[in-house]
Every structure is written in structure tokens, then in C-alpha cells.
């Protein structure tokens, strides 16, 4: 498999705004293929993966095989560190793919090898190339286990630091929405659909002019100040009573935490796509409801009139949240790769050389042979030390187990319980759920 066959990219015209969707890793590739199939307006869709086989089956405009020299297209084996190395190894190919693009959507599934490790690298590269980077990622199902979630969380932190905005869709949350008997493909279809709607909404708002226009820079303004914490949703109303219907949907949208996300919003980009006959009253009602939900947010409104949308209203919401300040999370074992990366950034070539030299050994060993490799030959103490620090991903099994004990998970904060009304129909009043305690909705602090 030849690298260049995957990366034949045309030069991009600089005048028009170029948007690119890049699916990273297996899940990302699948999602990218879905986006390609379902259509995302003017954006180009490409995929990047370490696994050549998976990459070949993905039907997108262009493909980038990552880390061909290291892994020979065999995949990252669920190790984010290898995903990262692979991406850093293929920087040139990626640079060619991302050159001249103004807005990059990285779609990936967190928790595996390639998506988790490579996506932050691609995000950083994209930003270096001057693009606005928006990552749309999924978090693993609960049944995939704690380790995977840990990796995903860490990958997410990295991604938050490297990109302008990250939109997170926990798969588990979507699983709660599908009927019990639905199949795996149906579940994925739903996840893909939610993400597709959101991404298509953004692509449209950027590429199509509106009556009240919002554009690239508005999107940038919403995303930039939020430390990478953001949410994205696209809703479409039914034909009658658009405003009420939208607000109802808003209350139930999984990507908005049933509307809870809005309460903490710092800034809000609202893009309405409506038919020519929509009344000012309807728009006013939608905006008033949003304003009531997000009283402190800076709201940026765009309205596009579209004959297709007769009688309906499409609402795309990009929510900039108050993201926590971006320090590297206190995850000791995963701290070191970050340090390694910083070093690698300083002098790219040597670090990579070191990695590539070392990698094939661990990669190609048959199960029994690992024992023999325990003492790497011809390495001075100093070199061995360096390697330990730079290549965290190659830690032995024992090390990793230790790590697991140290890492402390964080509990989600502030889950407002509805107590005995958990299962009954919510009592909604002007977009507020009256089942939640009043004092919480009004923000009273008890002492």
C-alpha cells in the first residue's frame, strides 16, 4: 500500500471558504462515510486511519493512511499513544490533506487507538495551518469498560486543548434513546444521524448567505472563548406550530442534555433556517424562549430564508460553554506522553526516529517473544530513561496496571434529580421543567 495513493489532494482554491470533514479512526471513518452519504453541503469529506483495511472500505472523497511506516496499515491496536505516533509520523500527508482549508471538522470516536491519539495531532496541525478546528467526537458506551472511558476522557482533554471547539456525544446517552430491541446498526445510525444534522447545520450556516447573516467569524467567536467546551444541535420543527414544537424538541435533545446545556452557556450561535412565510412572532417566540433558557449568554442570531423550508423552521444551535481552564488533567500516566509530545514538537525528527526505531519490535512480536525483548540491546541508561519519558505508550503491562489505581475518575457534577417525577411526563412551562426544584432553577444557594 502506497502512502501517496491515499493522499492525492488537489490544490485548494483560496477564495471560497473551504470546509473539510475528516473522520479519524474506525468510528470516525464510519461517521465520515455516513456524512458523505447523507450529504453535508459544500464540505469535503475525507478519512484518516491507521488501519488500511478499514480505511479502504470507507467511501469518502479521499483517504489518509496514518503511520504506514510504523504499523504497516495494521491499526493502532487500541493504544492512543500509537495512534498519536502514527499521526505524527504522517504529518506530511496530513498537511497536504489539510492545506488551504478554512474550517476543519474532526469526527472521531474517543476511547480507541487512532481516534483518541491521532485526532489531537490532526487538530493541532489544522490550527497550525490556520484553520478553525471543530471536533465532533463520541464517547464509548458504558459496556466498553472503564479503561476505555479513561482513555477517552484523556483524549478528550487533549482534543479540547488542541482544537477550537469540541462537541461531545456520549454514545451511552443515545443508547438510552433507542428502543430496547433495536439493533447495533440502528443505534449507530441514530448516533450518526444526530451528528450529521449538527454538522450539516453548521456547514450550511457558513456557506449559505442569510437575511441576517452569521458566518465563519461568528462561529469562531462562539467557539474560541469557551476552552473547547461546546455543544451542537440541529432541530427541525414540524409543519404546524413551529416555535412550540422546536422548544419541545429542545427539551428532549440528547446533545443539549435536555436543554440543560443552555443554562450554562457563555455564548450562543442561533441559526434559523425557515420558509419565506415565517412570522416575526414565531422568531420572537423562539428567541425569547432561548433567552429565558440562557439568560447570561451572548446570543448571535442568523436567519436564512429558504423556500424548501415552507412552514417549518430549522434551528442550528452552537453553544459555547464555560469550559474548565485547560491544564493538563491530573492523570500521571497520561501526563508523560504529553510531555513527550512537547519535546517532540521542539525537535521533531530525532524523537520520531527514536520512536520508529523502537516500534516495530513491540509491534510485530508474536505473543511469546515479548519476554526476550525485555532488555533492549545497545541502549545506554540515559537513552533508556529518555525512552521511558518520551514513549509512554510502550509501557509494560505492569506499569499500566499501576496507573489504573492512581487515576481517579471525576463524578459528573450537579445532576438535578427529578425524584419521584423521574419517569412521569415533564411539566414544561415556557421551556422550564417545573419538576426540578424551584430553588435550583432560580439558583438559590442553600447553606
Amino acid at each position: 500500500m502506497n502512502d501517496s495513493s491515499f493522499t492525492g489532494l488537489s490544490a485548494l482554491a483560496p477564495r471560497t471558504l473551504k470546509q473539510l470533514v475528516i473522520g479519524v479512526g474506525g468510528a470516525g471513518g464510519n461517521l465520515a462515510a455516513y456524512l458523505q452519504r447523507a450529504g453535508v453541503g459544500e464540505a469535503r469529506v475525507i478519512a484518516a486511519n491507521t488501519d488500511a483495511q478499514a480505511l479502504a472500505t470507507v467511501d469518502v472523497c479521499d483517504r489518509v493512511l496514518l503511520g504506514d511506516a510504523l504499523m504497516r496499515g495494521m491499526g493502532a491496536g487500541g493504544d492512543p499513544e500509537r495512534g498519536r505516533l502514527a499521526a505524527e509520523n504522517s504529518l506530511d500527508a496530513l498537511r497536504a490533506a489539510l492545506a488551504g482549508v478554512d474550517l476543519i471538522y474532526i469526527v472521531a470516536g474517543m476511547g480507541g487507538g487512532t481516534g483518541t491519539g491521532a485526532a489531537p495531532v490532526i487538530a493541532r496541525l489544522g490550527r497550525e495551518l490556520g484553520a478553525l478546528v471543530l471536533a465532533v467526537v463520541t464517547l464509548p458506551f458504558d459496556f466498553e469498560g472503564g479503561r476505555r472511558r479513561e482513555l477517552a476522557t484523556h483524549g478528550l482533554h487533549e482534543l479540547r486543548r488542541e482544537s477550537d471547539g469540541v462537541i461531545v456525544v456520549p454514545n451511552q446517552k443515545i443508547m438510552a434513546l433507542v428502543p430496547d430491541h433495536s439493533s447495533l446498526p440502528e443505534c449507530f445510525e441514530l448516533i450518526h444521524d444526530y451528528l450529521h444534522q449538527g454538522v450539516r447545520g453548521i456547514v450550511r450556516l457558513i456557506s449559505e448567505p442569510g437575511m441576517i447573516n452569521v458566518d465563519f467569524s461568528d462561529l469562531g467567536a462562539v467557539l474560541r472563548g469557551s476552552n473547547g467546551a461546546s455543544a451542537l444541535a440541529h432541530l427541525e420543527s414540524a409543519a404546524n406550530g413551529p416555535a412550540d414544537d422546536l422548544m419541545e424538541q429542545l427539551q428532549q435533545h440528547p446533545l443539549l442534555d435536555e436543554g440543560q446545556v443552555l443554562t450554562g452557556a457563555r455564548s450562543l450561535l442561533v441559526s434559523l433556517n425557515c420558509g419565506p412565510e415565517v412570522s416575526m412572532q414565531e422568531i420572537n417566540r423562539i428567541m425569547a424562549a432561548l433567552q429565558a433558557k440562557a439568560p447570561t449568554a451572548l446570543i448571535n442570531l442568523g436567519v436564512a430564508v429558504n423556500a424548501e423550508m415552507a412552514g417549518r423552521i430549522g434551528l442550528t444551535l452552537v453553544v459555547g460553554l464555560d469550559g474548565e481552564p485547560l491544564e493538563t488533567p491530573e492523570l500521571p500516566p497520561l501526563e508523560s506522553p504529553a510531555r513527550g509530545r512537547r519535546k517532540a514538537r521542539r525537535d521533531d525528527a530525532p524523537a520520531l526516529e527514536l520512536d520508529t526505531e523502537f516500534l516495530p519490535n513491540t509491534n510485530r512480536t508474536e505473543p511469546g517473544r515479548q519476554r526476550f525483548l525485555a532488555q533492549p540491546p545497545a541502549l545506554s541508561n540515559q537513552q533508556a530513561m529518555d525512552m521511558m519519558l518520551t514513549a509512554g505508550g510502550r509501557r509494560g503491562y505492569k506499569d499500566r496496571r499501576q496507573v489504573r489505581k492512581v487515576v481517579q475518575g471525576t463524578l459528573p457534577l450537579e445532576i438535578v434529580s427529578k425524584g419521584r417525577f423521574e419517569k412521569s411526563e415533564p411539566t414544561l412551562h415556557h421551556g422550564e421543567n417545573l419538576d426540578e426544584p424551584t430553588y435550583i432553577r432560580r439558583g438559590t444557594v442553600l447553606n
Binding site: G419, P437, T438, Y439, I440
Partner: protein, 407 residues
């Protein structure tokens, strides 16, 4: 036949209790309450049935007790309904007077009422009550009976209370499943108003708020007719739930705290005042802050009142309530409710006692029974307006149709 034809039974399926009250019409047309049956309600949330089987069981208990105390056999009931889906609005119909001399006749009146009933509801909704208000003749308002008056254009306002057909069917089906007929369904808020308000109060203008466990119903009367009605699916259960969540105690303990220490206003409470919770053995298990308890509860109750005030304000009715606000239901036992109500509505607040039925035993004067007694009252009014050829079969076939009375 055991049942004398002048027995009227009101059945209220509430969120916390199910209550059946038996009334009897004397030969002179006066209503007498002769029996009552109650049961704890288990299968109802926010005023609507969530577990038909246990509801059926509870109704059976309540009915059996009522039959025993009244010494009658209950064959049919007036069934109270509520739920967040129920709404009220005013619809106006008009009719041109065509007679040469422009004199309004009975046919014109019939016609205008028919026109006013032609309302545009969502397909799944059905009318529970349509209550005639005043007639307007050539712009002259407040006409009670236009027959023999002269004019060209006759209009009438109809207050329509409607709700979701399927959700209204649920309680009816449960009751019918027990071989008890439903004479008619009655919106609980209307029932409360019927038993609380005297004619003068209706004439002056009054707001009735019935704070139940699961829902809060309200109805507004001015100029002697109902002007507005609504339901909030928020009630005493929400207060309990808020307390359980905010104070981190169990629901049952929160319920006890609410009854014992709760109030609708914070009042002067010291920040360091605490309430000691004890276990079954009398040992202290936890202390909670009294200030927090009051704060959580006061905010919830205040919100209920504010939501109602807001709704009435948009309808422009707040300035017409000269008789004040009447509060009924279990929620009216909350301390400080009067003070809070006066602050929110700027009106005198009365804790409601049934006053439209004579000779009530003091046990029935509790605000919890206001609605159920109102259902009986509604039934008595129905029987009074019944035409001579009235038969039971008509209404049973169509429990929603033809309920036409002046509240």
C-alpha cells in the same frame, strides 16, 4: 331498586387520595351530604392515572366505604378529571338576527350558541365543558337573556374547557370497568369553584386555587360567570420532592417535615435553627436546617402562585377579582399561605370552606373535600336542569356530550 333516583355521587381520583361523596336531593331541591368514602391513592401521578389496577382497587375501597356510610348502592358517579392537558378558553359565536322586526327569539339564541360551539380544537382534544357566558347584542355587553330584545347582531361567549380525549378516557374506563356508570365528567377546578363560591362572590369576581398533591387547578369567575380555568401539573408532591432533594432525606420524611415544619413564607428564622430527625427508635440521625427547609418550600409555593398570577395577568383578569382569592385542596393547609397569596396577588386570600352546601358535618368542611363536594354540587345542578324525558342511557353513551350548564 335500592338506589333512590335523587342520590348523587361525586368521585374524585386525586394524586394522594380517592374520595367519593354521596349527596341526596331533598324533595325541595336542597342538597344534603349523606356519606363519604376515602382511600389512599397509589396509582396516580400529577392527577393522571399511571397504574389502572391499583387505582381500581382504591376506588373500590372508597366506593365501598361511601356506600356503607350513606347506606345506598352506588350505580353512577360524577367523575372529577384533571391533568396538565386540560385548558380553558373563551370562544365567541355570532348570529345575525333575521326576523323583520329584529326581535331576538329563542331560535336565534339556540343558533348563536351552536355557532359558538363550533370551535377549532386539536384533533385529539375533546370538550369537557362549554359554559355559556353573557350575550352581546349589537355591541351591548352583559345581556343575560336576549329573547324579546331587539337588535341585528347577536353574539355569545362560551367558555370551553377541553382536554386530551385519550387521557380523559383513562379514568372513565377504570370506573366503567367496575360496573359503575359515569354520569358525566367534571373538571376538578370547576368542582372546587362550585362548592366554594357563593353567587355574590362569583358576581364580584373571584379566583379559586385548588392545590392538590399532583396538580393545582384554578378557575376565575367574574360577573357571575366563569372566565378562565387552567391546570398546573405542580402540587404538594413537588414540595415534598424538592425537600427530599434539597435536604437529602427520604420522600416519606420530607412529607412529614413538610407537614410539621413547612410554611409558604420564610418569615423570621435564624440561620442556625435546626430540626433534629430521629430514627424509628427515637435516636437522632440527622439535623436539617430550618432556614433551608423554609426557603425551598417557600420558593416552590411562591412559584405556583406566581405562575397563576402571570397567567391571569396575560388574560387581563387580575383586576377583576374583587372578592379575592380562595384556596382549597390539601395544599391550603400550608402555613403562611394567606400571607404569601396577599403578597403575590395583592388581594385578600381566604382558605376555602365549602359554603354552598348546607348542613355539612364539620369533618367535611376540610379544604381537602372541597372538590369532591363540588362534584356532587355539579351533579345536583345537572339534575335540576334535566328535561323531564331524560334517561340515563343518553349520557352514558356519550360521556362528553351535552354538558351544558351555567357554572
Amino acid at each position: 331498586m335500592f338506589r333512590s333516583s335523587n342520590t348523587i355521587v361525586g368521585l374524585e381520583i386525586g394524586t394522594s387520595k380517592i374520595c367519593a361523596i354521596v349527596g341526596e336531593m331533598s324533595a325541595e331541591g336542597a342538597l344534603n351530604i349523606i356519606g363519604i368514602g376515602q382511600a389512599r391513592s397509589r396509582g396516580v401521578r400529577k392527577g393522571e392515572i399511571t397504574d389502572p389496577q391499583s387505582v381500581e382497587e382504591d376506588i373500590r375501597h372508597a366506593i365501598a366505604e361511601a356506600e356503607q356510610t350513606a347506606d345506598v348502592e352506588i350505580r353512577s358517579v360524577y367523575l372529577g378529571v384533571t391533568g396538565s392537558h386540560i385548558r380553558g378558553f373563551v370562544n365567541r359565536g355570532f348570529h345575525p338576527v333575521v326576523a323583520d322586526d329584529r326581535e331576538v327569539n329563542a331560535e336565534d339564541v339556540e343558533c348563536v350558541v351552536k355557532n359558538a360551539k363550533a370551535i377549532n380544537l386539536p384533533a385529539e382534544n375533546t370538550v369537557i365543558h362549554s359554559i355559556r357566558q353573557h350575550f352581546v347584542l349589537d355591541g351591548q355587553d352583559g345581556i343575560q337573556n336576549p329573547v324579546h330584545m331587539v337588535g341585528a347582531r347577536l353574539e355569545v361567549d362560551l367558555h370551553v374547557i377541553h382536554g386530551n380525549f385519550n387521557r380523559l378516557q383513562n379514568p372513565i374506563r377504570v370506573v366503567k370497568g367496575m360496573q359503575i356508570e359515569v354520569e358525566s365528567i367534571v373538571f376538578n377546578g370547576l368542582g372546587s369553584a362550585l362548592s366554594l363560591l357563593t353567587t355574590e362572590q362569583k358576581e364580584l369576581g373571584a379566583l379559586v386555587i385548588d392545590i392538590g398533591a399532583g396538580t393545582t387547578e384554578y378557575a376565575v369567575y367574574t360577573d357571575g360567570v366563569i372566565k378562565h380555568a387552567g391546570v398546573l401539573a405542580v402540587g404538594g408532591d413537588h414540595v415534598t420532592n424538592d425537600l427530599a432533594y434539597g435536604l437529602k432525606v427520604s420522600q416519606s420524611r420530607a412529607e412529614a417535615l413538610k407537614k410539621e415544619h413547612g410554611a409558604a413564607v420564610v418569615g423570621d428564622v435564624r440561620e442556625d435553627e435546626t430540626i433534629q430527625l430521629t430514627s424509628d427508635h427515637g435516636l437522632p440521625v440527622k439535623t436539617v436546617s430550618r432556614a433551608n427547609l423554609l426557603r425551598i418550600m417557600a420558593m416552590r409555593v411562591e412559584e405556583i402562585f406566581e405562575l397563576i398570577a402571570e397567567d391571569l395577568d396575560t388574560k387581563g383578569l387580575l383586576n377583576y377579582l374583587r372578592a379575592g382569592v380562595f384556596v382549597a385542596g390539601g395544599g391550603s393547609n400550608i402555613r403562611g399561605l394567606r400571607e404569601l397569596g396577599e403578597r403575590v396577588f395583592h388581594l385578600p386570600v381566604t382558605i376555602g370552606r365549602t359554603c354552598t352546601v348546607a348542613g355539612l358535618p364539620s369533618q367535611l368542611q376540610q379544604p381537602e373535600f372541597v372538590t369532591a363536594i363540588g362534584l356532587v354540587k355539579f351533579g345536583s345542578l345537572q339534575q335540576r336542569v334535566r328535561p323531564p324525558g331524560w334517561s340515563l342511557g343518553k349520557l352514558i353513551k356519550n360521556p362528553f356530550g351535552g354538558i351544558f350548564s351555567r357554572g
